[in-house]
Symmetry: C2
Subunit: 203 residues, 2 copies
């Protein structure tokens, strides 16, 4: 990375941490200047507006999500192993983030605020659900799942469990969330797999 | 209600709506004064601090939740009908609220901000999960559920689906969320009910 790129990553990474602590709306150019020790005028010259800063933080988070969650899952065997890798990667990613999943928190934060930030969050949520559906399709083509499996339903239920896990970890600090996660995944997957698939070999 | 009580309800109801639009952290005494047309000094004399205002808004929301979600469910036949009433009441309550469920949004917003607000949110989340468990216990005592049903697991999965429904309605505006909700509930309940219970009579 060039010095300019390194600086940009440092700024956006700090912005993402601040968004976890103060909410995305709480990240102003002034606060970012204070925490990074950079000049407010310099940051303003770069981002022009708070909205652009918020959009840049979300795009940075999405790129990180792609590299930490999606890409490593595509390197795992297609089907059930890949679905489980996607879940594990998501949980690790979310855990490493101050405040948990930025898309979950910013999603609830911006649902009533029309504008470019909400539009981007909407698009990112849809891309995430599409990724779940595509990974689930690999479970059909690899003969794990029934051919007629309702993958939108699967995506809704898996997405819901991930939100629940996020909340149980970040807010409730439930020491048994790992067990609950395993049970929920087992029951979800068992409704989609063909009778000959032995889930206990994977979970 | 006395005039003083009516004024208090008006203030907190406005505060709750503002929390849905701007996040709970976005509700300052200044903003509340502007929107209600009341004097900032008068509001400050009443609440003393932004934190106290946030706590008052959450307590007001919890009382509303109790009256709109929990109490009406306790008037419905114990067991499966009561569980379904709880879910329907929750969805209606969450839909009527600007920004969806305030506890879901404030929970993600405050998970990294130690203090009285986070402590109250934590307590409220636990009370909600306890309510789900108690309603599920009525399904055991009324012979719908197996005696050995893991009700903490049930509560986790139902709670997760409600978060998912909240997100699909508020952020994604999915026109088929009602169908997805029914399918998810059917599959969840079917794992807990005794073989002789016909869920199609209830859903």
């Amino acid at each position: 990375m060039s010095k300019g790129e390194k600086t940009k990553v440092f700024i956006l990474d700090t912005g993402l941490t601040l968004a976890g602590e103060h909410g995305l709306e709480g990240v102003s150019i002034g606060l970012l200047a204070k925490v990074t020790g950079m000049s407010k005028s310099g940051l303003f010259a770069h981002f022009n507006s708070k909205e652009n800063l918020q959009l840049a933080i979300l795009s940075y988070a999405a790129e990180d999500f792609l590299q930490q969650v999606i890409v490593p899952a595509t390197k795992v065997t297609r089907g059930i192993p890949r679905i489980l890798a996607l879940v594990d990667n998501w949980v690790s990613w979310s855990d490493n983030m101050s405040g948990g999943c930025i898309f979950a928190s910013a999603g609830t934060e911006f649902s009533e605020r029309p504008g470019k930030v909400r539009d981007l969050l909407f698009k990112q949520q849809q891309l995430w659900l599409n990724s779940i559906v595509r990974v689930a399709e690999s479970a059909i083509s690899e003969n794990y799942f029934n051919d007629k499996a309702d993958l939108d339903q699967f995506a809704f239920e898996l997405y819901s469990f991930l939100l629940g896990i996020n909340s149980y970890r970040q807010m409730l600090h439930d020491p048994e969330i790992e067990i609950k996660k395993e049970k929920a995944l087992l029951s979800l997957l068992s409704r989609y797999v063909k009778p000959e698939v032995k889930l206990e070999n994977y979970l």
